[in-house]
Amino acid sequence: MADDVKVKEGIDAGTVAAAKALQSENYSAGFQTDIETEYAPKGLNEEVIAFISDKKGEPSWMLDWRLKAFERWKTMTEPGWAKVQYEQIDYQDLYYYAAPKRGAKYESIDDVPKEILDTYEKLGIPLREAEVLLGVEGAAETAAEARGGATSSKVAVDAVFDSVSVATTFRKELEKAGVIFMSISEALREHPELVKKYLGSVVPQSDNFFATLNSAVFSDGTFVYVPEGVRCPMELSTYFRMNAENTGQFERTLIVADKGAYVSYLEGCTAPMRDENQLHAAVVELVALEDAEIKYSTVQNWWPGDENGKGGIYNFVTKRGDCRGARSKISWTQVETGSAVTWKYPSCILRGDDSTGEFYSIAVTNGHQMADTGTKMIHLGKRTRSRIISKGISAGRSDNTYRGLVSVNKNAEKARNFTQCDSLLIGGDCGAHTVPYVENRRADAQLEHEATTTKLSDDQLFYARQRGLGEEEAVALLVNGFVRDVMQKLPMEFAVEAQNLLEVSLEGSVG
């Protein structure tokens, strides 16, 4: 599927062909790579945390930080308020660290085990990470051109294979621009002062059960720092992939855009199929200083479980951006098609005056998937603005909930929010729920909320089929129409993949 994705108006042939594979045994990223893996001892205690910290060669303050989080975590209880159900997780029955045995660091791309490169190739994601990982300078550029992209853009990839970042590309070019883009483990060694300054400053250690767990055991993740006035010369990207059995994956991502800086970051995720549910509890922190802008896009297609609802990923993620400086802007765009259970609310704290937060979301659930997702926009600064566009698509026997909070603090004069939540139902056994919370302490705030729920109609389907479109193709076209305004917010590289995913996720949902 990777090789024949073409950019076209409407639907493309490769995409439709790819949709032939929805049944979970055909989950196209569902394979396991046999490589020797090094684990931490099973279970969670101080020794395991010390083991992880030691493996990473971390400074001692970091170990203290982790242990403090762990102390806190032991006093917390798992929350249960989301509209999702899942089996009790035994936190002592998980591995908290798994790494390819050859170790974390590779001198050059040639040292990366072939199995890992093959894995990335098999994933078949439009960024052609295989090529990129092979270090072919301009590979992504070429791939974009090959697909007719007029504005070809380079993409730098930091690949996280289970817990360890195996390769970072385009490092040199980024260094020239002064951009730091590396795994967070490396950053802890090379730029400890920066990490220390910002880590936990947006999502505190004690924030919530899963974030606190992450603070104690996070094994790797990505660190980005864009210095003052720098516009990051390429899109940055991380591919997360979960491979080993029974490992929770706890990445930690920290992105800082200094005054006037700009960065666009893409996160893509896949995981092989397994019967065991795999826990994913990441933390993403974004910090935008004065006049800075961060655009964060996610395409998530983790394994949703089989047709009986067995297996799949539990995705419990804390993502938060802090518009710390005046006129700063943070924009979240997400396409969620995978995971058995998704529970996440990428949020913005609009602290700086005139800062802007945006949340664009497409969440697709099919089969037995459950998603409870949305955003929080916390207006603290004056004239802060936020915009929320959420598109939920439910099919099969799935449940899809939008849950959002717009909060206007007493100092946030003339704050504005626009929220639009649209739900599309395909078939009669699925559910869509919209739970918008508003806390407003200002009379001059302008808050708008629009919500619609529609059912994919037989009339629309027949109309499209009368014109010659096959049933699956017709559904894809109608769904693409439904999500169009969010799709347009995605970087082009991702938009193609996202469209592809929508189709795969919804195959078999009609008829």
């Binding site: 108006e9 409407g10 009339d459 049933e471 129409g481 169009r484």
Partner: protein, 253 residues
Amino acid sequence: MLQLNDLSARVGEGDEAKSILDGLSLEVPLGEVHAIMGPNGAGKSTLAYLLTGRDGYEVSDGTATLEGDDLLDMEPEERAAKGVFLSFQYPVEIPGVPVMTFVRAAMNAQRKARGEEEISAPEFIKKAREVSAKLKIDSEMLKRPVNVGFSGGEKKRLEIFQMMMIEPRFAILDETDSGLDIDALKTVSDGVNALRSPDRGMLVITHYQRLLDHIRPDKVHVLAKGRIIKTGGPELAQQLEREGYDGILGEPA
């Protein structure tokens, strides 16, 4: 040739089932334009849906073939690829899908099903420009989502636009005149007439005669109570206009 033989059909299930076509026979050779007229509830739109494969109708008897191929056996998209086109009485809105995207996807799906080359982007755009000029359709309209926020007249124009882009072998026009003012009626009719060709058949379903002043049919059929009760030339339409359906049927319809 479109050939309907003793076609009977029901809508609904079990005790609710209602007979809507009752032994309807009709032949429309390629190269000809036939009109079907009839009072409300005669089964005109049912016939259009039945021929295009909409769910909810059960054929209890008879056959429908186009150039010898059994239409009733095919999925709607297969019939479309065979060349059957329906200009809908009530065109459907498709939010978020621009007209150009929709029409191109449709054309390419049909071509693919027939094993033909897809239409290239420049070729498609050129053709869309020509057709929209003929139909006096503003190019802005082609960028808007299909039928969303369109007036009744714009929707009908867009149906004819699609027909002229797709160039079907057999077109069924269901009440295309409704919602059109006089000028639009003329523009749309000019478009339909431009498509008349020896290898294309058309079935024009209408309640009123006025459309047939512009699209002159080779034959006029009167459909009532689920079957064709009278067939004649264009003069039959005029007779209907003068005498009403009651006059033709000989009893209140």
